[in-house]
Symmetry: C2
DNA sequence: CGTTCAATTGACTCGGTTCAAACGCCGTGG
DNA sequence: CCACGGCGTTTGAACCGAGTCAATTGAACG
């Protein structure tokens, strides 16, 4: 049980819009849990037993082939919802990219609560529709974009998402941020190899559009040029 | 206004589960419309003015880059829902692959009706969650699968979907069906070119796993082998 | 038949992968 | 203080799967 009224994602998570009483009732069904970097919260193919709100940290959603190829199908930030409500098994794994805090519910408990609270269900629907739109944008990237366009698109998306959430940390603005993932994970998101990611980053850096002060940090010097490299959509 | 009680997708579309009175109320807000093959119902980036249920035919959802590359991000079959409820503009175009019949609603009218009918909203949520799962499976395909795996996966998926809907037409079973799209569209779904699609189809045909009696028809001779080629997930 | 247009096939190219080596940052211990 | 490893990343060189461009086939239709 958590004190939802104090929650840092209170106004952005799906719980926003619930009345104080509803919030209390929902809060009593959930509990706060910490997840260490690298730890997997849900496994692909396993029974979908929990859903959760992300309070802090960044997590990945991924699916794998039998022979071990992995594709990251989503990145989850604070205030985002994770898990597969109303479904028997999870179609993807959920793994922490950084240490994270999540607010977890038993899926069945959450499902029932959602069915009884149309406002919550509406919030969940809105969010799912947005995720679907984003997944489809990503399909365009994976199906038709070049390596350079993919890298540029990823940098733009991350910078936008981090700044929207105020997750960039102290002294940072929209144009300087920390990547929440390593090169291998960038490759798994973009459908590329680690070498191609590295080469393209170097290329874009050489052109002066971005700087890479260290392996995790990115500075966007010319956002418009980066947007042009990302080629629309 | 349509007579929903007679509708062929009555039991599979999101309208299933509505009471007779609700169904009547909803039916009065919608109208049946025919869409000719090749006609675009909604344009990417346009205001999202309509949503619809598909009654017959097959449609594609697609997004394009500024320089004309197109990626198909979804295929829509009878009983599926199309359009972007609760959103100002449509993130993709909707175009008929075959002549089709749809049951259209003004988006704002539908949105309001949905908000007032939690059961409908729940159906819509369920459906959106399934679409999201499918989109993510497709991201794996686009990001990590080889051309041959992509073709095999597409054939499996289409055969499953067509047979589930009983759309295969008379005298056809699960292992023989008509492709609802041409080679270019297959390429746009799979993130490949028309030549690669053609070559891989020929390869799989040569191995005896499938037959291609004519340009649109597919016969699966060895479903297990095709599943193996598709490489899981 | 001749026309048309989708599909196939062939030859060549190229972007991205693969495999391998070198770099550079950082923590450890001599 | 500096040598030594370890690890993530970068860089290099060769390779290959899919793309590109172009020619051919073949089914449908007037």
């Amino acid at each position: 049980m958590s004190d939802c009224a104090q929650c840092v994602v209170r106004n952005r998570a799906i719980c926003s819009g619930l009345s104080p009483e509803e919030l209390l009732a929902l809060g009593q069904k959930g509990r706060k849990q910490t997840v260490k970097r690298g730890q997997t919260l849900v496994w692909e193919g396993d029974d979908s037993l929990v859903v959760a709100n992300v309070i802090s940290g960044v997590l990945k959603l991924s699916v794998s082939t039998a022979d071990g190829r992995e594709q990251i199908v989503g990145i989850v930030f604070p205030s985002d919802f994770i898990g597969r409500p109303f479904g028997k098994e999870s179609p993807y794994s959920v793994t922490a990219l950084s240490d994270a805090e999540v607010c977890v519910f038993h899926r069945s408990t959450f499902d029932q609560f959602a069915r009884e609270h149309p406002e919550l269900q509406h919030k969940l629907l809105q969010r799912t529709l947005i995720e679907l739109d984003e997944a489809r944008q990503w399909m365009m990237l994976l199906g038709k974009k070049t390596a350079e366009e993919r890298i540029a698109t990823l940098l733009i998306r991350i910078s936008e998402r981090l700044s929207a959430d105020g997750c960039t940390g102290p002294l940072l603005n929209l144009d300087e941020f920390e990547l929440p993932m390593d090169r291998q994970q960038m490759a798994d998101i973009l459908g590329l190899t680690i070498e191609t990611v590295s080469r393209q980053l170097t290329r874009i850096k050489s052109s002066g559009v971005i700087a890479l002060p260290d392996r995790r940090r990115v500075v966007i010097h010319d956002r418009q040029a980066l947007l042009d490299l990302a080629e629309a959509a």
